[in-house]
């Protein structure tokens, strides 16, 4: 279990407890947090669960797998702190993680 803070583009914060083994994307969808669309349902086939992770946390996350950056190319305004939230699995280590949502997902 980890407390995850989802920050909407307008600054609104949502703090929820997400079970280990779920993804950051699932944590948002299951708690009706706006700003993460996840059109493809987590199969790394779209780029609509795009989030930004600030430096202090970015390096602590499990590394990107092949293909994630290819999908991020197609995200809205990606940068070097971009991740697909469907590819970040929650564990106790992520307790306190903040993710920032982009202005929009497409």
């Amino acid at each position: 279990m980890a407390k995850i803070k989802y920050i909407e583009h307008n600054g609104k914060e949502h703090i929820v407890e997400v079970q280990n083994g779920l993804t950051i994307m699932e944590g948002a969808v299951q708690n009706d947090i706006p700003g993460i669309d996840a059109d493809c349902g987590g199969s790394m086939s779209c780029a609509t669960c795009h989030v930004y992770v600030k430096e202090d946390w970015y390096d602590k996350l499990p590394k990107k797998e092949m293909g994630e950056d290819d999908m991020l190319d197609q995200a809205y305004e990606p940068n070097s702190s971009s991740r697909l939230s469907c590819q970040i699995m929650v564990s106790d280590d992520l307790d306190g993680l903040s993710v920032h949502m982009p202005e929009k997902q497409v």
Binding site: S45, C46, D69, D70, D73
Partner: protein, 337 residues
């Protein structure tokens, strides 16, 4: 005007199997899809990726699944209308009048929406200023490459479309290729070629840059690009091309008066009808308690929706359930003895 029993929107696996079920029970249908090929997400997103959860098929690719479904509905000779999108649905007495963007018209008592999560459309530049040049000098696909001859063309993207066009147009145009990172996802041979062309100054390559602004008085003159550190560069450009893949947009479906829940359509699970009589929704686009976005669920939903269609297509007949193993009527429809 094409008269039929059912118009199916979407030629993905769910739409195809629903067509099969309609054929089995003796109904006709016409299938419309926005893409230029049959198969939906299976073909557009993961043609080569193996799927492991189709019942009785331990492993197959999206392409194989599509080909098998096509083979299965072949006996019915249904028409496909590809590269066209259903724009408008209007109720006329007991029928739905269905109009497409290309101006085709259908009339049918039933419409089955098997539209996945909407239609695939090119992902556009986030820059507001790009909108006023959209379709004239800011383009997301190429229909006629001769317009670029002796012009300055700025190409954005890192996939095969961006690389292939950069290579092709470098023969006749002044090409700049701009991509947000150093790695490209295009074919290794194309990436190699791009690097060679860049070394020979046949292509101006800008990596770790993205679009900031497009400028011009009436006609496009310049494109401004920015690095993540905030550094800007201005490039001369007569055309700006963006190749960022496709996104799924609900599009006109949102305007048909259907109940919507986010990007999905609530249905009843008896026959997958929506809040509108004669309009059904199946596959990823439909929503009900316990919904799973699996291809196998789409098959089940399509089978029930087909029976739902029967009621409106043959109001004076009673639907009779039959097995394909036993029914001679079905065997006739399949052309088997």
């Amino acid at each position: 005007m094409i008269k039929t029993d059912v118009v199916i929107i979407g030629a993905g696996p769910t739409g195809l199997f629903c067509a099969h079920q309609l054929g089995i029970i003796g109904l006709k249908c016409e299938i419309v899809d926005n893409l230029d090929k049959i198969g939906g997400q299976c073909i557009e997103l993961y043609p080569d990726k193996p799927i492991y959860d189709i019942p009785a098929v331990p492993e197959c690719t999206g392409e194989e699944l599509t080909n098998n479904l096509l083979e299965q509905i072949k006996p019915f000779n249904f028409n496909f209308h590809l590269n066209d999108r259903v724009q408008e649905l209007k109720q006329v007495n007991e029928n739905w009048l269905v109009k497409t963007t290309k101006g085709k018209e259908f009339t049918a008592p039933n419409v089955v929406i098997a539209g996945g999560v909407g239609s695939f459309e090119p992902r556009k530049f986030p820059t507001k200023s790009a909108e006023k040049f959209d379709g004239t000098s800011v383009l997301y696909s190429i229909k006629d490459k001769t317009i670029f001859k002796n012009k300055s063309v700025a190409i954005f993207g890192g996939g095969d479309s961006a690389l292939d066009w950069a290579i092709e147009l470098s023969n006749t145009s002044n090409v700049s290729l701009i991509h947000r990172r150093d790695e490209f996802r295009g074919a290794p041979a194309s990436v190699q070629k791009i690097k060679e062309l860049s070394e020979k100054n046949k292509i101006n390559l800008f990596t770790k840059y993205s679009i900031k602004d497009v400028k011009g008085n009436g006609t496009l003159e310049e494109v401004e690009i920015k690095s993540e550190e905030g550094e800007s560069k201005t490039l001369k450009a007569d055309y700006v091309l963006g190749f960022f893949g496709l996104i799924m947009q609900l599009g006109p479906i949102a305007e048909w008066g259907l109940n919507l829940d986010k990007k999905t359509i609530p249905v009843n699970t008896e026959n997958f009808e929506t809040n509108k009589k004669g309009i059904f929704a199946i596959g990823d686009i439909c929503n009900y308690p316990g919904k799973l976005k699996l291809i196998l669920s789409g098959f089940h939903e399509g089978a029930l929706a087909a029976r739902g269609c029967f009621k409106y297509a043959r109001p004076n007949e009673k639907y009779r359930f039959e097995f394909t193993t036993a029914s001679n009527t079905i065997k006739d429809r399949l052309g088997v003895k």
